[in-house]
Symmetry: C2
Subunit: 264 residues, 2 copies
């Protein structure tokens, strides 16, 4: 029965009851905070690099009247939605340990909700760009588009299932506690999978773009734009590793075990 | 002092002592076995798909006399080394719970050692292919090559540090137990990171190759080879998710916690 009330308490309170808080209060918090800070910094860096690339090297943004500049919306908005907003949403869910669970959930949902318009407009910009080519490019033939479709499908599923299960079902809190508890690890596992898929999709997209710009014949002297593209890719890879580590790892390494916060 | 003897016992014996074995004996073993079996199947499928692609669509293998066929060695050997051998090595370290720890370690090392000639020849084939182009292609300008270099560096570091720390240092077992225990989680974390990096590098390479074959103008009807490339990419993504899940998740989900086998 205690479980039905669990969402009204903070992460910290639960840990104190379990006796974990004292152990965590020492150096491990510092290590964890450092990793989280680095992840947050890289989440912003990815967006800044994508924006810098589009504005400085690709002549900024437009809509159908300038298809090439319309396309620039695609990488920037996809990085903003799938990487920056989603990444912050995942990080904040773990980091906000002193807030009420319901507030953390709402914040998690709002950040993911902010990603939706980015993804929709970014997706539309790429589709429209395909149509405006002479001859029009076929849709969903590339490796990048296949990965992108799977990522978008998983993201939508996660959002709808998460919204109904962890927020709407709170209206009959007691009756749904067991169901929600069972769903938490599934939601967490699919969440980090969606994030990793998004990173993989971004990497194939960037790789595609680099080939479009340089072909097999990369410039023999270093190209500034090429370095920016590669740097963005390396930031994305680092994020894939760091966010995955931050989300999964919540316990004491010394004891040879890890706690996942699989709670309501 | 008990720790110094720990590597001579099997995983299963340790778990039985901790009281975990009974819990694991039930349905969770079945779920875990299913995931491991699927991962093993996909590790083989990735290699088979890469081989099928090279032999059926890319005219098989050669060395410097036929640069294009020489290049075909690169994707096949890199998938074999970085994905299939490394993946099996990671899986088997987790799955062989009834064997003596030293035997499991040796098997883990041998499988990684088998990856080394694959990676070296695969890397050489790509370098040589670059040189044989007219004009020769510059090295290490692409996103794929940057990711590949980081992956190879981490792999080499992991192999050397792992070999000396977990095998050579056993010669003075008691004195090095604490150091080895502290190194295990680091080795595990960097191991899964190397595997994820390898998957990301493969995806950018495949994406590159698809662009080389089709350019921006993908065929309007489906290309068989394109589907094979995309299918290989999807298998690699699924492997990234499954192997990561299998290696990290070793405990009881119902209890809301996960045990990493961070042992000597």
């Amino acid at each position: 029965m205690a479980k039905t009330k669990v969402h009204t308490r903070s992460h910290y309170e639960e840990e104190r009851e379990r006796g974990d808080a004292g152990e965590w209060a020492c150096g491990r918090w510092f290590e964890y905070a450092l990793v989280v800070a680095l992840a947050a910094l890289l989440l912003l860096a990815a967006l800044v690099l994508a924006l810098f690339w589009a504005l400085y090297y690709r002549q900024g943004f437009a809509w159908s009247d300038a298809p090439q500049r319309q396309f620039n919306l695609h990488p920037v908005l996809m990085v903003a939605g799938f990487v920056t907003f989603s990444g912050f949403s995942a990080l904040l869910f773990r980091v906000c340990r002193c807030c009420r669970r319901l507030h953390v959930k709402l914040f998690h949902m709002v950040l993911h909700a902010l990603a939706i318009p980015c993804v929709v407009v970014g997706f539309w910009a790429a589709l429209d760009w395909h149509e405006l080519q002479q001859p029009p490019l076929p849709h969903f033939h590339s490796l990048h588009s296949w990965l992108g479709l799977v990522t978008m499908g998983l993201f939508a599923l996660q959002f709808v299932v998460g919204f109904f299960s962890f927020l709407v079902l709170l209206c009959c809190e007691g009756a749904t506690a067991a169901f929600r508890a069972a769903l938490v690890p599934v939601h967490a596992a699919f969440g980090i999978t969606t994030f990793m898929l998004a990173i993989a999709t971004c990497l194939t997209g960037l790789s595609h773009k680099a080939y479009e710009l340089y072909g097999a014949f990369y410039p023999t002297s270093w190209s500034e734009e090429g370095i920016i593209i590669n740097a963005l890719a390396m930031v994305l890879v680092a994020l894939g590793i760091l966010v995955s580590y931050t989300v999964r790892r919540e316990g004491s390494r010394g004891e040879g075990k890890t706690f996942l916060s699989e709670r309501l």
